[in-house]
Symmetry: C2
Subunit: 310 residues, 2 copies
């Protein structure tokens, strides 16, 4: 069993699933909960999963970060739209030699966390997971689950695959979570944007799912053009994305079942959209490197309008 | 009274108003009508207008172009979305020495008409008009009315202010329609796109009116960026739009009452949108001149998707 203790900041579809697996495996895990706090405190959590479900009758649930014990590993799993509220409170929950692992969408969150807890206490990861919170304290995991983990260094520098990231990966793998380790987290984040930038935004703006976008020549072409702009942005900041990767993303989406990207779910539920980390931050990074991404910028400004209309 | 006879191809909000004014002034005017044909044939037309309304108890209404007498002047006033159907039939309704005046939105319709009736029988105009068809044969004109007329020559060349365009302008002015004559119709069309491209598309995509676009920093910035892309497109084809014109369009829109652009009305009514002439043709013209307009292209592809979803 892991000697490391874990804090889950945001126990929704993602944090509830991964944190639930850790707790189920016997790892000391503390959950920050907001709306589900009372329910989970009394009744625990339920995780349905295609990989085998389970109950957690007793869960260490906390309504505020200041009530949580400082932990070795803090998994930041909330939506990035809560970051302005959450990040300033992180120092209370991470041990002096602990680490905050940013498991969120988009770009630039590690930098924001580093500014508060110090760059040496930051790592990050990308989650490839289909999971929903179907009721208070009730998570339904329907597919996938891989976390791609990498350590963080400012400015997109490589820190290598560190001992601590191996150890955290080991804890998660022992809990039944598939893990891949990456030396270059920043490059991995840009790669993930290749899919996220076109399909999250277009699903919202066209009020549709991935299959309709792929079946319409105009929308499909725009999706691919947006992918190439992500490639151009990555290149501007020194990260290479192979053309074959774009082709694979298009092919994979073509072959996928109709899918609602997370931003589309947020939009339809009337929740804030993760446009700052998914659009504004990549645009800013590319612009600072001297490259404009006009199609992405256009999509971003449209989304910013819709986000304010809520 | 004019010795010229007129055909109005598409007697809706625009053609019904202008054609109605001509007929009211005693000009021989024949109207092509589709859904309103039976009503107008029996009951004539009603024009309400801030400049003075009138009734036309008897109207020369025709259900098909082949039933119309060949005329000296053919005003093409239908939506451009009907052009694929209408333009091939134009030769039947224009006299050998007559002229088709394209009073439609966007770019490139004169070229399409010229390909069918010959370049020497084409002119064009831009209408600045607030008018609605409120019931069959019933037009409500609420503001403005200026037609900017210009003669046509292929490739955006100047044909000057010709005798015939002066004569047509005279007929329209005698009927109470304000007229401006322009030597450079193609440049005038690009100028008009400076407003039409941002506000038509964004109203549809953001499901809103002009005032909301102007009040939101992100949407307003995108609108202005789209204007600058129109300026770049115009420059690519050899037409200069002064920066002050963009600033004026922004200022004018800021000071306007909340306004629904025509494409937004079409979209909400479930009608086809004029995206080919307003977006695809300017994009093509710029591209042939070696210039990409990525923001406009992004808007265009989204609109093309929505147009197909009808």
């Amino acid at each position: 069993m892991a000697e490391r203790t874990y804090a889950i900041i945001g126990a929704g579809a993602l944090g509830g699933y991964y944190g639930g697996r850790l707790a189920h495996a016997g790892v000391e895990t503390h959950f920050l909960l907001r709306s589900d706090y009372e329910h989970v405190r009394r009744h625990g959590m339920t995780v349905e999963s295609t990989d085998g479900g389970f109950q957690l009758p007793r869960v260490s649930a906390c309504p505020r970060m200041q009530d949580m014990p400082p932990c070795d590993v803090v998994l930041l799993t909330a939506k990035t739209t809560a970051n302005a509220h959450l990040i300033p409170q992180l120092p209370a929950v991470v041990k002096p030699d602990g680490v905050v692992v940013v498991l969120q969408n988009g770009l630039g969150v590690e930098d924001a966390v580093a500014a508060v807890v110090g760059a040496e206490r930051v790592a990050g990861g990308l989650c490839f997971l289909c999971s929903n919170r179907v009721a208070p304290g009730h998570i339904r995991h329907s597919d996938y689950g891989l976390i791609t983990l990498g350590d963080y260094a400012p400015g997109g520098e490589l820190r290598g695959i560190t001992e601590r990231i191996r150890a955290i990966g080991g804890d998660l793998e022992s809990a039944g979570i598939p893990i891949a380790l990456r030396e270059d987290l920043y490059s991995a984040r840009w790669h993930k944007l290749v899919w996220n930038v076109p399909f999250n935004g277009l699903a919202v703006l066209l009020n549709t799912e991935t299959d309709q976008i792929m079946h319409d020549p105009a929308a499909r072409r725009l999706a691919e053009d947006l992918m190439w702009e992500v490639v151009a942005g990555a290149k501007a900041v020194g990260k290479t994305i192979a053309p074959e990767f774009v082709e694979k993303m298009m092919r994979d989406t073509e072959n996928m079942k109709p899918y609602s990207p997370s931003m589309y779910l947020d939009y339809r539920a009337g929740n804030p959209m993760e446009i700052e980390t998914m659009y504004a931050n990549p645009l800013r990074a590319a612009r600072e490197a001297g490259v404009e991404l006009p199609r992405i910028e256009s999509i971003y400004r449209q989304l910013a309008f819709l986000d304010k209309q809520r």
